[in-house]
């Protein structure tokens, strides 16, 4: 089953939020989902402790550099989609996780700083592709975007697009419901309404669907 690795050495770029939204929406759509929390700050585990996990989800905490490859291999084999959440650092754990990915997803805010640091992941993937002699699919998702795109956002999007980077549509908008996931645990459907809940659910579901689409396409 496919393995989605969420990676950017930039902290606060929206990795854990993207991981939870992707996992909960895919599970809601009927998939078995295994979440691997590889961040020593344990964002996913804290989310998982707030409330019982939604149906069809499992969460494995404290995955480290020395057991990441085995952990992915084990859960890859047991029929669910594997989602790996990483710490926002450049580490060997990150490069090992990427080597086991069917899709690497790099969330970034549409700022020059995020894009510059996020680009380190692209460079690393290129290097790993060479080392492994296989291609590794990669996509960027913009996070915390506003209704009206900034000039900076459009510039970064055009520049990445020009480099042939796959950009996930829709972006994840800045929404109270998304940050509240870590306060309430569970998924968007189980939490008390936050802001424009229906819009938030629509956004998250369309995002998960865009990732699902990529997971159904054969590797090049």
């Amino acid at each position: 089953m496919p393995v989605v690795v969420i990676a950017s050495p930039k902290g606060g770029s929206g990795k854990s939020t993207s991981a939870v939204l992707l996992g909960t929406e895919l599970a809601h759509a009927g998939a078995q989902v295994t979440m691997l929390d590889c961040d020593p700050n344990r964002s996913l585990s804290l989310w998982g402790e707030r409330r019982a996990l939604p149906p069809r989800m499992t969460l494995l905490a404290d995955v480290t550099e020395s057991d990441i490859v085995k952990a992915i291999q084990k859960h890859d084999a047991d029929g669910g989609i594997v989602i790996v959440d990483l710490e926002g650092v450049a580490s060997r754990l990150v490069s090992r996780a990427i080597s086991q990915a069917d899709l690497v997803l790099t969330p970034m805010r549409a700022t020059t700083l995020d894009a510059t640091i996020g680009a380190r992941t692209l460079a690393l993937i290129g290097e790993e592709e060479e080392a492994l002699g296989r291609s590794i699919r990669h996509a960027v998702v913009f996070t915390m975007t506003r209704g009206i795109e900034s000039k900076q956002h459009r510039g970064i999007e055009a520049s990445l697009g020009g480099q042939g980077v796959d950009i996930v549509q829709p972006a994840l908008m800045e929404r109270a419901a998304f940050s509240a996931l870590f306060e309430f645990g569970g998924d968007l459907r189980s939490m008390p309404a936050q802001g424009r809940m229906e819009e938030a659910i629509k956004n998250a579901s369309a995002f998960a669907q865009a990732i699902y689409q990529r997971l159904t396409e054969a590797a090049q």
């Binding site: 496919p2 759509a29 580490s91 080597s99 080392a131």
Partner: protein, 100 residues
Amino acid sequence: MSDQPKPFAVDIKQLKSRPKDTSPAAIQSVDRAGEQHGFVARDATARRGRPPSPRTGQVHAKVLPHIADEIAAEATRRGVTQGILIEEAWALYLTHKSGK
């Protein structure tokens, strides 16, 4: 045909996944690739355990708690490190063993 979008449902038969190389050789080459881009080992295991003493560059042996307490109290009383007491004890041991 309806113009309502279909609710999103995952069909697991449509999911594609490729075999991944988990061999030590593959991981080693991935580690090397990562290092070239500054993705280096940061696991806590490298820092686990007691740090070496700055005086001697060594890790001290562990002893039973009541002996540790006595050694600590004696070192504090004399104002020396515990290592010095152990060095003295070792000197006594050698003297004793050589039968002098």
